[in-house]
């Protein structure tokens, strides 16, 4: 029983880690906290649902279109809203991303109303591994997020672009003076983040019921993971996700009502004790 719960928490933790990764990608390169990310995920889930049910495209094509348009969304957002504000106070950027999120939510409510759904290819029943039971949707989601993490780690380690992103993350000005195209890297990080939003949108459509509020729920899981793992650490996002997933399901095991609030409390504790996160660099401005 307790093993089942821990296992489920771990699997969900994989999804949370992928949510946080989208924040980390953008924050690492440009020090922007993209609070629209939760709603980007929500709109991705709705868009796929619309493609599959209203337009009736085959599943593989729908997913392909979603990936392309997710990346395009990231690109457009960076070009239209973020680039003109580069160098402004962080509140300006924070408010713009937050308001973009509200805009997306408005569009979702306008077009789909209070419609809620799970994606059509959601697997049902329970998966049995020996004596333990896990939900197949969460297992799939976990596998996908592990693959994405592995891919990104490989990209960062072995490709030129990955190396350039690491340098830009470490110091914009040095990267610029070394002749790297910093603006292209910023753009690329948003494209990757938009692509991740599309991936997470599918996973969210599998593991949860999608409602107009799903963006806020996603944000509510992603931000604590982000703070616990550290704002600029990729492995931090993974381990932070797993930690929050485990702690949350343990809290839920102890008392069902506590489940919802555990991530926030964990985040507040981390903020008080170790504000730069468990894995983050200690670059946070102190007083």
């Amino acid at each position: 029983m307790i093993v089942d719960i821990l296992l489920q928490g771990l699997l969900m933790g994989g999804v949370y880690a992928l949510i946080a990764l989208g924040f980390v990608m953008v924050f690492k390169s440009s020090q922007i906290l993209n609070l629209a990310y939760g709603q980007m995920i929500a709109i991705a889930a709705y868009f796929l649902y619309w493609l599959l049910t209203s337009i009736g495209v085959p599943t593989w094509l729908g997913i392909l279109v979603l990936f392309v348009s997710g990346a395009a969304l990231g690109f457009i957002l960076e070009r239209l809203f973020i680039r003109p504000l580069m160098g402004q106070s962080f509140l300006a950027l924070l408010m713009v991303t937050l308001m973009l999120g509200i805009l997306f939510q408005g569009i979702i409510v306008l077009v789909w109303g209070v419609e809620s759904f799970s994606l059509p290819f959601t697997p049902s029943g329970m998966l049995k591994i020996g004596d333990w039971q896990v939900s197949p949707g969460a297992s799939w989601a976990f596998l996908v997020s592990l693959v994405v993490f592995l891919l990104l780690t490989l990209v960062f380690r072995y490709t030129r672009v990955g190396l350039a992103m690491k340098v830009v993350a470490a110091d914009n000005e040095v990267a610029q003076s070394l002749g790297m195209k910093v603006r292209q890297i910023f753009s690329l990080s948003w494209v990757i983040s938009g692509f991740l939003a599309a991936v997470v949108g599918i996973l969210v459509g599998i593991v949860w019921m999608v409602t107009p509020d799903v963006g806020d729920i996603v944000l509510g899981k992603g931000l604590p993971v982000l703070i616990v793992g550290g704002l600029n650490s990729v492995p931090g996002a993974l381990f932070g996700g797993l930690i929050i997933g485990l702690v949350e399901s343990l809290g839920g095991y102890w008392a069902a009502a506590v489940r919802e609030i555990v991530p926030w409390v964990a985040m507040l504790v981390i903020l008080l004790v170790r504000p730069y996160g468990l894995f983050g660099q200690k670059r946070i401005e102190r007083i």
């Binding site: 509140l91 924070l94 507040l268 007083i287």
Partner: protein, 354 residues
Amino acid sequence: MLPSGRFSASPEQDMAIVRTKSQWLLLVGGLIFAATLVMYVPSAWQAWLIMLGIYAIAALGVHVMTGLCGQYSMGQAAFMAVGAYTTAILGTRYELSPWATLPLAGIVAGLAGLIFGMPALRIKGFYLVMSTIAAQFIILWSLREWSWAGGASGMPVPGITVGGVALDYVQYWWLTLALAVAMIFFAKNIQRTAIGRAFIAVRDNDLAAEVMGVNLFRTKLLAFFVGCFFAGIAGWLWAHFFLYISPNQFSFKTSLWLLGMIIIGGMGSTTGAVLGVVVIRFMDKMVDEVAPIVSAAVPNWSGQVAAALSLIVFAVVVIAFVMVEPRGLYHRLQRVILYYRLYPFSYQSRARGP
């Protein structure tokens, strides 16, 4: 800046909030207009006016925290909830009179603000925003789970009675207006005191402020206390207006609305904060009026057009302000006023900027 050819001749004149005769005229005329307006408008607009006053008080709290002291708060609605629940619990369970709960609502909300403002001592920027968002969710969750306080379904609030008669909308607006004017004066006055100047010093450069002898610990916590005190007073008005409160009334969106209002109005100015509230609330009301027309024109869309449009319009307006005029409406207004004050010499002011 004073009109052309007029100068402050004494420290009192220099410190005065109301400087000129035309300002006195506008102030008195505006107050009379606000107090009598309610008698001629339909009851939907009376309710709108009361909500306007409540939002104005809460937004002034955000103004003190964010605009003056630079401590960004995205949890103001939760502190309003603390004030409202203090009112409801003391009024229903302990049968305290509303006038006794008024200061208590403010103080309890302020104390809650102190608790969640603690991280501000170590962190700022993003991290502080995160902790105020956590405050929003933790406070609302506690209220939902606290069955003695009604849990998720909420609890009733005894109404305000004067001489055994419950207040109607007109009288309630007068009460709201009186409180709002008092709070505006309070917020405006803070800026002239040593504490207010310390707030502004911390906002502009906290390291420099500390070197100059400002106690950061005390100043930041005081900003949180005062800001949340405003929220508590707004919560008191909210509770007595609706007569029934539940945690869902104080959503995260409301907190964002309040922050958006002071951004549109102009950060760091009391007049700007009030201006922002009026503009956003008026826009919201207009969206409510337009929504049925839109939903009749486009029957394909869901039945949620009003809710959706109000989100979209608000988001677009705030984005436009942040990108085009980050200093807000008040700054624009100020430039117009300055042009007339310096009328024959306005060319210079345009060259140097205000």
